[in-house]
């Protein structure tokens, strides 16, 4: 009992450490205010101060020095290794940054060209619909050949009866197609997954164009 108590810090030490830590906080703030150059030196100072504060805090405030070495050596090494983890995070982030710099695939800033005509300049609604279907990724899931990809194929879709989940049947007319683009979850065709995202950004004219394109893929459509 005595031995353990003996090793706990005294009030005097505690106050001294307190003063020292306050001075360190003030020092790091002053270094920040003065914006000491170069940047790396400033950062080294910050890290050195932080480590010093951490050591003081663990040793005196958390009183690790009063504990037995068995505990000290179980706690300190793994925690110190966390710094290596942060350094790993930095180096991996730096690699990604380097890739982005050399390729500018994703650099920020406004497009350097004028916003192009979203309709691609054409006035033929079927052709416009085809472009929209391509650019909006519709054709990733809806084939135009009759093949089943993820969603129902558009070939022969327009005007055909579609059996829905739950047994009812609906005719794929304009209203149904429009609803299915804007709110795909409303009526799900049987044996297809409910996964299509709602395309609420398309305007009326664009919707009409896409539907015109779908129509053109049916024998009854105008091609």
């Amino acid at each position: 009992m005595n031995k353990q108590e003996h090793k706990h810090i005294s009030i005097g030490t505690c106050l001294k450490v307190w003063g020292f830590i306050v001075a360190l906080v003030a020092l790091s703030y002053v270094v920040f205010l003065l914006q000491i150059e170069p940047l790396w030196l400033r950062r080294v100072i910050f890290i050195a101060i932080a480590l010093l504060q951490a050591v003081l805090s663990v040793t005196y405030f958390m009183q690790l020095r009063a504990e037995r070495p068995g505990l000290v050596y179980a706690i300190v090494p793994p925690v110190s290794l966390l710094l290596a983890l942060v350094i790993f995070g930095l180096s991996e982030g730096d690699y990604v940054w380097g890739v982005r710099q050399t390729h500018q695939w994703l650099t920020t800033g406004k497009p350097v060209i004028e916003e192009p005509d979203k309709n691609g300049g054409t006035t033929n609604p079927i052709e416009k619909g085809m472009q929209l279907a391509q650019s909006n990724g519709c054709l990733s899931c809806h084939s135009v050949t009759g093949e089943k990809i993820v969603g129902p194929s558009w070939k022969g879709l327009y005007g055909s009866p579609q059996e829905l989940e739950g047994g009812t049947t609906v005719t794929a007319d304009e209203a149904y197609l429009k609803e299915s683009i804007v709110n795909p979850g409303a009526k799900i065709v049987k044996s297809f997954p409910n996964v299509m995202p709602p395309y609420k950004t398309l305007n009326e004219e664009q919707l009409d164009a896409i539907i015109a394109y779908i129509k053109s893929l049916s024998s009854g459509g105008s091609k």
Binding site: G89, E92, Y95, L106, Q134, S140, P193, V195, P197
Partner: protein, 593 residues
Amino acid sequence: MQEHAAGLPETHGHEETHQHEPTGFWTKYIFSQDHKVIAMQYTITALLVGVVGMVFSWLMRLQLAFPGQLSLIQPDNYLQFMTQHGMIMVIYLLTAFLLGGFGNYLIPLMIGARDMAFPFLNMMSYWTYFVSVILLFAAFIVPGGPSGGGWTIYPPQSILPGASPGSEWGIRLLLMSLAVFVASGTMGGLNYVTTVLQLRAKGMTLMYLPLSVWGIFVASVLALLAFPALFVGGVMLLLDSLAGTSFFIPLVNQFGRQLGHEGGNPILFQHLFWYFGHPEVYIVILPAMGVVSDIIANFSRKPIFGYKAMVISILAIGGLSFLVWAHHMFVSGMNPYFAFWFAIATLAVAIPSAVKTYNWMLTLWGGNLWFTTPMLYAIGFVSTFVAGGLTGLYLGNTAVDVPLTDTYFVVAHFHLVMGVSAILGIFAGIYYWFPKAIGRMYNETLGKLHFWVTFVGTYAIFFPMYWLGAAGMPRRYYTNEAVTQLPPSSHELNIFITIAALTVGAAQLVFAFNLVWSIFKGKKAEGNPWKATSLEWQTPQTPPVHGNWGPTEPVVYRWAYDYSVPGASQDFTPQNVAGGPAQKAKASGKTKH
């Protein structure tokens, strides 16, 4: 007590476990703080969850064998089954069972404690786990269903609407469930680690511990240090999904629409995930290794060969597990030069693993092998562990990993080395400790039937997947008919695998029946049916009652492996027996006979 260093506070002691035995039904079976009851709760919950995971694997296998003939299984369902199967098996079954079930039951009994250090925390750990299971299954009733993003839930795919099923509420619930599971695992892990370090019986040094305790102990430490990374990755992914932050999602253009994210890095999630994910593999396999070591030693009637090497191997595997995570990411697009280090560290893990395998085999050498069901399972474990572990030499070696990763080769590798092996270890443990935990014997014939079908069946399921993977069949494909360059016979191989999987599944009915029947109708078991040395077999009552040890706590005089000591009257000398021929040699620190 008198040997303790001076300076221990006077109030120190084991008073915290000196509680009166609970009497009511609720305190005895539901909100019990007894480690044995909590272990049972963990065991039963994990096994039930595991059944769900197994059913998902059947559905996947049926789809792969008979593509297009089961209209019930659509591509989105398939991905959901796959994701939930992986999550359930790795986390909610294996981790929970091995740490929560075996850990809870074995640690206090094997180290000679009356209970865990913090019984209330232990109870909270189980109920937190229960909540995480509820959250996991809650994903089945939300719109969009559970997540289908793969058990690795890589962003952006797992959280972009329309990419995979359940990418909105399914994944959010899954992440919340994981966070709750991390909380549960932390509570449990703290308990296990503190208990092993602080509550050992008089005379029980760390180097006298049975290897089961070593495995569970190191796994618990790994859990405490690895789960934080999953938690952090999960929180950031949840924020990306819910709050629209861009930790992991860069500027993307999905289905022709530019989404609002900007500047995130998807590979960062993979680092965080595997920083957790690789130690997680060892969290699962280390306890199983420990259990198998104890069972092999017992039924060989021999000390485990090279105990010290076994302990050092466990520690080395545990330590290395934090330095190898990016070997899952050789083709992920991370800095390619990191791969050199990760390949070297990964193949270094092979050395302690090989040491363990050699030591298991050398334990068999010169033994007097007794082929009970647990022993059969333990030997099965060694065989499947080798069959799966050796292919780690392909996948850890960067250049060889490039063509094989993300194919069925990987599926075969990790199923054999950590799925099947861990499950065989679990079965070995269940049969081995059944008499102690229940007080009755299981049916040996049914147990052996269960073993033969399971062991041969798992080889039939997973070994052919190596061939399919080498032939170029990618993982996570809804149907392998999509890969036209595969030889036509690979389809027949898939049907074969499915039949094997269903057979192994059916064999688990035998196991379930055996368990239930034996609990009620099994032959009464004696206290130490296997003539084992470790402490859990020396309890005054079988099954042990609250407080484990009766009025006096056990005192330990020797290690857990004094089988067939020359000159001793029986072929086993329990740890709490003083004197005898071999004790001097042990006490003076010599390990040679």
